[in-house]
């Protein structure tokens, strides 16, 4: 049984329908240099593409990588895989792939198992196929449930989709998921090192309260083609922008900047390396800025970053201005 000395590991789910880019994302994570002490749980080794040079050791259901990461295959016994991971002290973070038609809400229970803590749900949505899927007689409700469960949405294949498709998808997602950060990405196998994209997504997850969305909301039935479901009080499309800040930053000044932009920002949250050398969490919500010491076990050693969320027709511009002010703090 789990010793109380083992620190809890964040458990993040990666979900999304077939072909939405989950596997590509998983391969990125496994090949990444900036993610250490991370275990990735996949349904099937056959779908992952690990560079042979990276393999330190391999067993029937677990592959250990030279970069300190582990890749596990779920196998017959989900319980055994997950409870074994829960007891390990050599990893900080677990990323678990949900099957294509799987409901992230089912696997999410594991994030409350001893040894784990919730690390959010990253859902991939294919910019080309998703809108049609949301009207498919067989899977519309499944895809909507995935989107609804998201802490972060990765809109993939943006290089293949046209602008109209992408904006229609964003609207649909906002209607289902409300105020959830969306990352636009091509997510192609042959794109250079885009593991930074993933790191940004992970930051956005840690930046938001995972459990804030009420359980009861999630069980609403979704009917394909029903516009009343798409329309909600979050009609306005939310935009997000992540600002990274090098070196140490005076956290009080960050607070002032955010306060100045309170009218334009819906929300903001970040982790900042303060001048005292401590990592601190700074949040803006309901017009109030709060600062607290960051919990240990965050991903890697990071630069300071703040995720800004804006809304409304001028969101892009407003975010740009806030970002400029924040960056200005470092130039001084």
């Amino acid at each position: 049984m789990l010793s109380s000395d083992v620190e809890s590991k964040s458990l993040t789910l990666v979900a999304g329908y077939l072909g939405a880019g989950k596997t590509t994302l998983v391969n990125r994570i496994l090949g990444s240099r900036s993610l250490r002490r991370t275990a990735v749980v996949v349904n099937d080794f056959g779908s992952v593409n690990i560079d042979a040079a990276l393999i330190a050791d391999s067993g029937a259901d677990t592959i250990e990588l030279t970069n300190g990461c582990i890749c596990c295959q779920i196998g017959d016994n989900v319980q055994r895989t997950m409870s074994a991971l829960a007891e390990r002290s050599d990893i900080d973070c677990v990323i678990c792939e949900v099957s294509g038609v799987g409901d992230p809400a089912q696997l999410r229970a594991w994030s409350t198992y001893p040894g784990f803590r919730p690390g959010g749900v990253l859902v991939c949505v294919d910019a080309v196929a998703t809108v049609e899927r949301l009207h498919d007689e067989y899977v519309a409700d499944v895809v909507a449930a995935q989107i609804r469960a998201a802490s972060v949405l990765a809109v993939t294949k943006t290089d293949v989709a046209n602008g109209e498709q992408v904006s229609l998808l964003r609207e649909r997602c906002a209607g289902i998921a409300g105020e959830v950060p969306m990352f636009m990405t091509a997510m192609r196998e042959d794109h250079g090192s885009c593991s930074d994209e993933f790191v940004s997504m992970m930051r956005a997850i840690t930046a938001f309260d995972i459990g804030r969305r009420d359980q009861s909301e999630r069980r609403e039935k979704y009917e394909p083609g029903s516009t009343s479901q798409v329309r909600s009080h979050h009609v306005a499309t939310h935009r997000s922008l992540t600002v990274t800040l090098p070196g140490r930053v005076d956290i009080e000044s960050v607070g002032h900047v955010l306060t100045n932009h309170v009218a334009r920002l819906v929300r903001a949250k970040g982790i900042v390396l303060s001048t005292s050398g401590e990592y601190e969490v700074i949040q803006l919500a309901s017009n109030i800025v709060r600062i607290a010491t960051a919990p240990t076990g965050q991903i890697g050693s990071m630069e300071s970053y703040i995720v800004l969320i804006g809304a409304g027709p001028k969101a892009d511009e407003e975010l740009r201005l806030a970002a400029m002010d924040l960056r200005g703090l470092c130039d001084a």
């Binding site: 294509g100 038609v101 229970a109 007689e137 067989y138 039935k221």
Partner: protein, 560 residues
């Protein structure tokens, strides 16, 4: 040809032989040479065959073709390693009768008895078959189980496979904190633990106690043998294992081959589980080729090569996939066990390899996907006489049955649900109207769809005579009739349970009816099902079976 057959021809007179063959629907006797029927007719006719001798052992019995249940699980043998606490009566493979536990108090009493019988005071007490859907006013709780023992860990596996109910000793020995924040650890309105652990994360907390009980997916030599005895006890001569993942390994194949030899007490058709449990294989085409080779190496007793694909969940678990109007209480739609795309790919691959596919569809949306996919597959790769089957087929509609007929598909209908969960379907899951239309055997027959009926053992007990009774009377446990217009006749139900099952396994040339040349498989009964009140068909005593001419005796201790 006579020089190849030195064996005698044994003539068995009976009170009555029902053959399921319209050319000779009834007879006085059967003549068996070796493992096959040689002739059927009057005793004096049969005695004129060369080397004929008379055997009167069945002269007071009624002989039918051996029953064929085309949807069962070999793990049936293994579930009895635990104590049975389910709602309905069952007979275990050793012939012992276990009355159903129809209240929480009866569950507790059963467990108290089991607790006394266990030798060591440390061995966990594992029980199975609990379905909370039957106990609407009071659920089995940790307090009830503490009343059985406060020292021995107790774990009750719920029938769905998705929850346990445990006692305090289990929680303590697995260090489950009363303040545990793991999702699925259920609490009452005062915040105290109820003893229920729902879904896999919460269940994993007590894995040390709960594991070691085999569920319906686990199979070993002993389980297979007990499964076969269950068959003998119920007049069943052909069963299926629907399905297994073991066939992709030579060791797995060997388990079946080595155990199911020429003297094994049932025929087992072993299906490969191709989709719906875990991720779909990356090597479907190779898997299909392997199955095609295994198929050729099948014997009379063990058959390989057929494939099972599972689309959705169950009605009583609210995990079946439904079309509008959906579940009675507007519960959210159920789950897909495989995506439509992967299902299509798997179905097409196995079909192209010439294999037979049975697809689990409980909800009507699952049936719809089966039909759409079958149509695409057949259009792209026509294949005559495929007999692909929609199995369970619980909510299949008249329009869907019409399509099934035109596509050449079969339906294996889960008639046992009418009795075992009919009240729950009427009142909780489907609603009074929809429930009446479920398991629509009459509609299927009217539309010309070849049908069979099944138990899905151990989900419901193996027992073809009971299955016939359920399809004919459509009585629920509380004796309501769930849709009288879907009742079928006894003769139709018996045919479904013999030739119908054989047909959808593509073995109707060898089994399913009593005809010359076919394998000599028979059910040996005390009474004629067509001559008793339909409600009492399930009470007819089964003396045993004849399997390829071998005489097999039931070990059930008959009650009056």
């Amino acid at each position: 040809m006579t020089d190849r057959y030195p064996e005698t021809t044994v003539v068995y007179p009976a009170r009555l032989v029902r053959t399921m063959d319209p050319t000779t629907p009834t007879a006085e006797a059967v003549a068996i040479r070796g493992s096959r029927f040689r002739a059927i007719g009057a005793v004096d006719e049969l005695m004129r065959y060369p080397n004929a001798i008379l055997d009167n052992r069945y002269s007071n019995a009624v002989l039918l073709p051996g029953f064929v249940d085309a949807h069962t699980h070999a793990g049936t043998g293994n579930v009895w390693k635990g104590t049975y606490v389910g709602f309905v009566d069952r007979v275990d493979p050793r012939g012992a009768f276990w009355p159903g536990c129809t209240s929480v108090d009866e569950v507790v009493a059963r467990l108290q008895d089991a607790d006394k019988r266990l030798e060591s005071s440390n061995t966990p007490l594992i029980a199975w078959g609990l379905d909370p859907i039957y106990f609407t006013d009071r659920a089995l709780s940790v307090a009830d189980l503490d009343g059985v023992s406060t020292t021995r860990p107790i774990c009750v596996h719920q029938a769905s496979g998705h929850a346990y109910t445990v006692n305090a000793a289990t929680l303590t020995s697995c260090q489950v904190d009363p303040s545990s924040s793991t999702e699925g650890v259920m609490r009452d309105c005062q915040g105290k633990l109820t003893g229920e652990l729902k879904e896999f994360a919460a269940m994993a907390l007590v894995a040390d106690v709960a594991s070691g009980w085999g569920d319906l997916l686990s199979v070993d030599k002993q389980a297979l043998r007990e499964f076969a005895q269950d068959a003998v006890n119920t007049g069943t001569t052909t069963l299926t294992d629907l399905g297994t993942n073991l066939l992709m390994d030579d060791e797995g194949v060997a388990l079946y081959r080595d155990t199911i030899g020429d003297t094994f007490q049932a025929r087992i058709d072993v299906f490969h589980w191709g989709a719906g449990v875990g991720p779909v294989s990356n090597t479907l085409a190779e898997d299909a080729q392997r199955l095609a080779v295994l198929k050729d190496a099948s014997t009379d007793h063990v058959t390989f090569g057929n494939v099972k694909l599972m689309l959705d969940g169950t009605l009583q678990g609210f995990t079946a996939r439904l079309r509008v109007p959906g579940y009675y209480g507007d519960q959210p739609n159920g789950i897909w066990n495989v995506s439509p795309e992967e299902f299509h790919n798997a179905f097409e691959t196995f079909h192209r390899a010439g294999l037979l596919v049975h697809v689990h569809c409980n909800g009507d949306q699952a049936t719809q996907l089966f039909l759409d996919t079958l149509e695409k597959v057949l259009t792209a790769h026509p294949r005559p006489d495929h007999r692909h089957t929609c199995t369970h087929s619980q909510m299949t509609t008249p329009a869907q049955y019409r399509r099934m007929a035109s596509l050449g598909a079969c339906a294996n209908i889960f008639a046992n649900h009418i009795w075992q969960w009919g009240d729950q379907h009427l009142d909780l899951t489907m609603g009074p109207d929809r429930a009446r239309r479920n398991n629509a055997a009459a509609t299927a027959l009217r539309c010309g769809v070849p049908i069979s009926l099944h138990s899905d053992s151990p989900v419901t007990p193996l027992g073809p005579l009971a299955t016939v009774k359920h399809a004919v009377t459509r009585l629920t446990y509380s004796r309501r009739v769930m849709g009288e217009t879907e009742r079928i006749g006894v003769a139709e139900a018996l045919e479904a349970m013999t030739l119908g099952g054989a047909y959808m396994l593509k073995r109707d040339d060898e089994i399913g009816s009593i005809e010359p040349g076919k394998l000599a498989d028979m059910a040996v009964l005390a009474d004629d099902p067509l001559n008793v009140d339909p409600e009492y068909i399930s009470e007819i005593q089964v003396y045993g079976t004849v399997l390829g001419g071998q005489h097999l005796v039931s070990n059930v201790r008959e009650l009056n």
